[in-house]
């Protein structure tokens, strides 16, 4: 007699319902709900036309007089390419993000190296000091910089009290203040992946380099830097990607000439109430950011294959 397999058993055996897949399904569901769906909505709006109504854009698909029409309006994208403002805002955002990332790397790398080389007992305390400021609201921390950088703020007052300067240096509402803010806010995101990577570095490799006659500087460039490449890339991604779209810091610390795409986005959405153009700006920004992310992903896969 042929044994019948119960349906529920077959179901359980099917690949989709294995517990392991269930575990993976939760984050995928999360991404689907909170990333893909909003993205599709934004994409949809970017092809619409602005109108004074609620919602403030036209429908893509209309049905009237027995006609189903799909109206794809490319005007928003054409507008972006025709107006210099957007192009220079993208460029300026990328430039500010690149410089800030580089500054974060220059400051964060020695810090991460020092923390990873510190005695085990003080390592956690040092790491905590890096993370601790993040326990305060991001907004409050950026506001605090206004108090530090403004013409009668702490820095200018201190410099004037010491007699180094007579008139306050203008720091607030300049690109300089934006750099300070971004580097300050994103430094932990550089240090943490670097630190994690450096902890995996076998210290005997550093000793071997020294033993073979390499000075500490040579050891840094020939051994430590190449072996912490993955940490450098991860840290740079974590700083660069959010920095490109940063809005709060240029809004609070930047001046009128500080051009960043996050600010443009805000203005289009809330000041001009032109949702379709704002959506187009967001779509192009995403496209620009996906390139480095894809490159990082490929690099990581290559690393994995080697191991």
């Amino acid at each position: 007699m042929k044994a019948l397999t119960p349906t529920w058993y077959k179901l359980r055996q099917s690949a989709w319902l294995k517990p392991r897949n269930g575990v993976i399904a939760i984050p995928y569901l999360w991404l689907l709900l909170f990333f893909l769906v909003p993205f599709i909505i934004v994409l949809k709006i970017s092809f619409a036309e602005a109108q004074i109504a609620i919602p403030p854009y036209t429908d893509l698909i209309t049905y009237a007089n027995d006609q189903l029409s799909i109206n794809l309006n490319l005007g928003n994208f054409v507008w972006l390419f025709n107006d210099d403002l957007y192009f220079s805002a993208y460029l300026s955002s990328i430039r500010i993000a690149l410089v800030s990332t580089l500054l974060c790397l220059l400051i964060g790398y020695p810090m991460a190296l020092a923390i990873s080389r510190a005695p085990a007992s003080s390592r956690n305390v040092l790491l905590l000091l890096v993370i601790l400021p993040s326990w305060t609201s991001f907004l409050i921390r950026i506001y605090a910089w206004i108090g530090i950088l403004k013409p009668n703020g702490y820095i200018n007052n201190a410099l004037m009290a010491m007699g180094i300067i007579d008139t306050p240096i203008v720091m607030l509402h300049t690109d300089f203040a934006v750099y300070v803010g971004i580097v300050y806010a994103y430094l932990p995101f550089m240090i943490l992946p670097l630190y994690a990577n450096m902890m995996k570095l076998d210290h005997s490799l550093v000793e071997a380099s020294s033993d073979l006659g390499a000075s500490p500087v040579t050891t840094l460039f020939k051994v430590i830097l190449p072996l912490t490449k993955a940490g450098i890339i991860a840290g740079c991604m974590l700083v660069f990607i959010p920095a490109v779209g940063e809005f709060v810091i240029p809004e609070l610390l930047g001046g009128p000439e500080t051009l960043m795409i996050g600010k443009i986005l805000w203005e289009e959405f809330f000041n001009n109430r032109d949702w379709p153009v704002a959506s187009a700006v967001a779509i192009i920004m995403l496209a620009l950011l996906i390139l480095p992310i894809m490159w990082f992903d490929r690099y990581q896969n290559k690393q994995m294959e080697q191991q």
Binding site: D202, S204, E207, A208, L212, G213, L227
Partner: protein
Amino acid sequence: MELKNLSKSFDGYQAVRHVDLQFYEGEIFALLGGSGCGKSTLLRMLSGFELPTEGSILFNGEDVAKVPPYKRPFNMMFQSYALFPHMTVEANIAYGLKQDKMKKADIDARVNEMLKLVHMEEYRTRKPDQLSGGQRQRVALARSLAKKPRLLLLDEPMGALDKKLRGEMQLELVDIIKQVGVTCVMVTHDQEEAMTMADRIAVMHAGEILQIGSPHDIYEYPNCRFVADFIGSVNMFDGTIADEEPAFVVIDVPNLDAPIYIDHGISGPGGNRHVSVAIRPEKMRMSAEKPDEKYNWGKGIIDDLAYLGQHSIYHILLPDNQFVQITQTNDNRRERPFELEQEIYLHWTPDACVVLEE
């Protein structure tokens, strides 16, 4: 090469205490001891990774104790080999040479020479993670020899290899080192490894050097209980000196039926009449009949017996619960000479004994 009164403390704990040592040109010298005996710290002071708290490291009459590692003409082969994972075999070997600002052609020639020395020519473009343990060790050795160091330091050279490979690599390593003629200091916890590879051994314990000598000296003439116990197995008998003459000594041992007779004088324990006598397991014999001797025998029961093929190990129970280990070569195929629980007599020759102070 000489170490004078070398000491190292970590937070008040003395890892190495007042070590005086001399290395001779071209010898392989082993620092042997258990974990935490200070042997690794001593090696790290030689390589320059640790600064001595006290004392000096004299090299050609110059104190190099405070010279940083990258300026010392010494090279080390690390226990984990510490090969640079992002470089090929060639680049690893060339690394040290590049630091000397050598010409490219000279570097290439030297790298080829080294690859040939360790028989790794076919693997020159591989990365370390594409090599087996034994191959990695060859590369590590080549890298540490490439700069023609005046002193080669080996940190647990066989530590990362499995047991089967060890035996082969030990002899090959000695071969290569002797071929190059470099003075070599190695650290190991494995006495077999030290005895196979080294010309001289220093036994270390609690930061101090207890005995220095050839493998033969250390095994046959240990100078204290620790060394006798640490190197190989040994049977210890505690007793009191009954008769001491320049030509012989008689020692009463409560656990033995006859006193121990040693056919030479001992110049050790002045006034101290309590001594230990050490006898190696392979230097004791067993018999079923009572020996017809006045000295050097005892009676016991075979408590345990391990047949290992080429030889057997017997555990003999003496009065007062003392166990004695005896090894006997199984040179007869058919007979099993002794059985468990059998009462036997153990005996030895007068020159088998070593008298040790408490």
